[in-house]
Amino acid sequence: MIFEKILGNENDESFSEKLHHLSHKSLVDYIEIKPEDSFRRRMRMVSINGREYKLAIPRSQKIENGSILWLSEDFAVVIRILNGPKIRVTPKNITSAVRLGYHCGNLHWKTNFIQGGIDIILSGESQNYFDRLKTLEEFADFEVEYLENDN
């Protein structure tokens, strides 16, 4: 089965009731996507029930947590984006914060800005990230915390 467009999100009012109904009867199949794969518009995917699907959505769309790929009277397919592990970095002062932001940008890391710091979204080995942060220690003062995924 190939999905060629995202129909909506499970949180959209127009879909939520119908999906709720289907999920009570176990008629919703979920596809879990790693955070780094959530940027893809075309790929093979396997659902939690072991079904194989293909994705080939338009360039203008992007999958999100809760994206609905299929919805009929008796079946639905919904995306779950997994929360991968993160590294939370908290700079101790403004100079360090600027250095840190510049460093993450230079390395093309995917980050989320949070109050007082940065969450680095990991792709691949966490050690690669720790190694790169180590090289910054000489120039900036910050704390590093590894956060396991909380799925």
Partner: protein, 201 residues
């Protein structure tokens, strides 16, 4: 359905254009409609070469000039390449795949997934068997690592088997393939991987 956008990156001279020329034969054999975008620094060299090869109608080969470091137009701001791909798709509605060759770059170059759906990184045996060990982001993050020019291994003192093992271990088991783009060894296998993973024919 949209056409699959496939990135081909890797160091200068590793055999990216040679690989595309080989792949074009496979596309032809299978009658799968394809187009090519080449990226060169300030010339259309690679596009001219592919047009001259006669393997693809000339108007299906488009050149984008990066003007600066090649990775800037496949990652930081890929809008030139995205626009070239969009134009190809509207000009040839039957397109199933667009091959996008990056200009030769360093081991840190990676493709934005806004530009491509799937990408490979081509290194070559003559670049040295230590390349996979250096953990370059291009080598680690690509969907497929291609080790090209295997015919040259005896001349540059490289043990190909060891190089492949090290590459697989650096990539934690993700796909690695070896090829000779002069003769086409490994290209059929590479083509079936592309077909299966992104072309969906």
């Amino acid at each position: 359905m949209t056409a699959a956008r496939i990135g081909i990156g890797g160091p200068v001279g590793s055999g990216k254009t040679a690989l595309i020329e080989q792949l074009l034969d496979n596309f032809k054999k299978k009658s799968i409609s394809v187009a090519v975008i080449t990226n060169d620094l300030v010339t259309d060299e690679d596009a001219l070469r592919i047009r001259k090869s006669g393997k693809l109608k000339e108007d299906r080969v488009v050149a984008v000039q990066a003007g600066a470091c090649p990775h800037t137009v496949i990652r930081e701001d890929p809008s030139l390449n995205i626009s070239a791909a969009d134009k190809l798709e509207s000009k040839f509605p039957d397109l199933k795949a667009i091959l996008i060759e990056s200009g030769g770059d360093n081991l840190a170059s990676t493709f934005s997934l806004d530009l491509v759906d799937w990408w490979m990184f081509v290194i070559d045996v003559a670049g040295g068997d230590d390349i996979p060990r250096k953990n370059g982001p291009g080598v680690l993050n690509c969907d497929l690592l291609v080790i090209n020019k295997i015919d040259l291994a005896p001349y540059v003192g490289v043990n190909l088997e060891d190089m492949l093992l090290e590459a697989k271990s650096a990539r934690h088991g993700r796909k690695v393939i070896s090829s000779n783009c002069k003769t086409g060894i490994g290209v059929d296998e590479l083509f079936s991987i592309i077909e299966n993973e992104v072309i969906f024919e």
